[in-house]
Symmetry: C2
Subunit: 367 residues, 2 copies
């Protein structure tokens, strides 16, 4: 029997609850397709800080590297919020594992489930036909550049004395842009053959380099249509006419902002998954956070986590049929009217509002 | 007679057409209130590059400094687009004048004109009651930090050889954060007493400094409610529940992206103005660009330019009553059904679709 080893990183907040449902669905897939999934659980984020003093313990990284794929739930919470640079922060776990595994391509698909079309705050005719994927560069830019804070005269300004100053560095290397651009063009070939590259070339030097390299790469993909858009305009177009986009490629920070903006087209972050790919082991996670306010109540929506399992099957294990099954199962459960609280509305009958475990079981049963 | 000297910067594209309507409205105000407005026109942006070889000629800066306020239309166009760092770009005019005049506070109000409520791509119940102002830091951050491009081994990556590298620097000084925060709190006092400060404190050192200083300033404004929000979440919340915001304060690049996103709540960028304030002469401009595709056709919407005149009257000349008149005039013209092409829809009768000059005259007549 073919066996895959999956590193589970439940993390904080609702993490442990939703990852259990991801595992439930994986097990159902394994049974159906005669594939074995073994699990290796490790600490990341706030729980890792509490138990080990750091957000990404060495044992966690080793477990991730030894696995065939990593399934992460969510990290962070007010308990660990701090602006003190000396104290560890849960996000360092996430940023650390991205960097250490070389996960330079973050894919965030945005599609609208028919059954939830009304959930968007945008008019139905505007989100109709939205089917885009944001390809976000994930290991460069402002996230990983040099940063520092210090005191000097400049910090205080014209009034004199000393004041604080801080900087972060937005840096890109040609090869980093080249490989993410290739990724976007390859993806476009499997979709509607359109790439929109987002930058701020009228201001940033990194954006001008970005634009040049993306155009160089485009020469190898004459069958794919490339357009450039400034990030401020993109923030508008995503709301004005989102169906115009197929593959959107952009640098790390712009990708962070725009992919969260785009996620709202669907009406619920609870439905969106993401894949972070590199040249080795890949990582899959929901697009939403750890929702500490509802942790432990059994009401969190596990569907984004389950859809991250769908992406894992597709991209890491090449199990396309199984991935399609997961998608079909989620669609069927939604079409049958089942909702967790976050995606329920006034028209949802009370007996169709279900908790985390029930939602996971409903999907697993369909497989 | 009280006289104000206004520096006019028509710039590129539709700039000259719309600024003429701004002047028309100023003249109407001057007549009604017995105030004199004199105009001093100067070059900026692409036209300045064509005629003088640089986007912000010294004469333009001198004219701006000698004025009581600057009215700008728009700069830029495909003619001057370039990724070559050695060639001048129109945006340098805009960035240069912001820096030289010390215009550190950019105010972008977003309100919905009743008559245009249907124009938004968001559902009416979502944009209902939206009345927010984005206070964007305008002379710091990535826009003005050190940047460079060069070749080295790192640029090429693991494959070896040489490749390009580029960086931009996101820098903030304590006093820069302090003064923009004060501005936001003062503004909140005149509104609904709420400030939401947007940063990316879970990643950026500048954001952690930002958050600390904003909270320090907040201590002087116990009557104002302060909240923090991460920029990715803000990009979502602006679409999910925009009416929650009153005053939003943020750094330069986040402000660029979020204010354009927020502008879409109104359904049309053609209706939104902005004010850039510092310690001296202030600058007023529409939020939209130079729209080179429709330049010279007499169909551009002059209302954002006219509303920038409204802000000039209010903030630079303390003419609150006159500013209210301009706002009332625009509202009356819209209520009477008049539209330029960009804000017309299927329900607009053909005889109500008007050109740039006609729209300006209609507003001026109301004053
Ligand atoms: C938690 C945070 C550091 C992270 C990011 O900004 O990348 C998150 O927002 C994301 O998009 O995965
Ligand atoms: C033209 C450009 C440099 C400018 C900016 O990014 O500040 C514009 O988008 C704006 O918001 O005024």
């Amino acid at each position: 029997m073919k066996t895959y080893r999956i590193c589970l990183l439940p993390g904080d907040g609702i993490g442990p609850e939703i990852i259990a449902e991801g595992v439930k669905v994986l097990d159902a897939v394994g049974e159906k397709y005669g594939v074995g999934f073994t699990y290796d659980e490790a600490l990341i984020g706030g729980v890792a800080i509490d138990e080990m003093g750091e957000a990404l313990p060495a044992a966690t990284l080793a477990a991730a590297k030894a696995s065939d794929a990593v399934l992460l739930a969510a990290v962070g919470g007010p308990k660990w919020d701090t602006t003190d640079p000396a104290r560890p922060r849960p996000e360092q776990g996430l940023l650390g594992i991205r960097k250490e595994l070389g996960l330079y391509a973050n894919l965030r698909p945005v599609t609208i489930f028919e059954a939830l079309a009304g959930a968007s705050t945008l008019k139905p005719e505007v989100v109709d036909g939205v089917d885009l994927v944001i390809v976000r560069e994930l290991t460069g830019g402002l996230y990983f550049g040099e940063r520092e804070r210090f005191y000097d005269e400049e910090g205080a300004g014209p009034d004199g004395g000393n004041g604080q100053r801080a900087y972060d560095t937005l840096e890109y290397r040609e090869y980093e842009i080249r490989r993410i651009a290739r990724h976007a063009f390859e993806m476009a070939r499997k979709r509607r053959s359109k790439v929109c590259s987002i930058d701020k070339a009228n201001v940033l030097e990194t954006s001008r380099l970005w634009r040049e390299i993306v155009h160089e790469v485009a020469a190898d993909y004459p069958d794919v249509e490339l357009s450039d858009m400034l990030v401020d305009n993109a923030a508008m177009q995503l709301i004005k006419a989102p169906a115009q986009f197929d593959v959107v490629v952009t640098e790390n920070m712009f990708g962070d902002i725009l992919s969260d903006e785009a996620s709202m087209l669907s009406g619920s972050l609870g439905m969106l998954a993401s894949a972070s790919l590199g040249d080795g082991v890949a990582l899959y996670e929901p697009s939403h956070g750890s929702a500490p306010d509802i942790a432990g109540q059994g009401i969190a929506n596990p569907l984004a986590q389950i859809l991250s399992v769908e992406m894992m099957l597709r991209y890491s294990f090449g199990m396309r049929e199984a991935a399609d099954d997961v998608l079909a199962a989620v669609t069927a459960v939604l079409d049958a009217g089942f909702r967790t609280g976050d995606i329920a509305d006034a028209s949802t009958p009370e007996d169709r509002v279900v908790g985390t475990e029930m939602m996971g079981s409903l999907v697993a049963e369909q497989i």
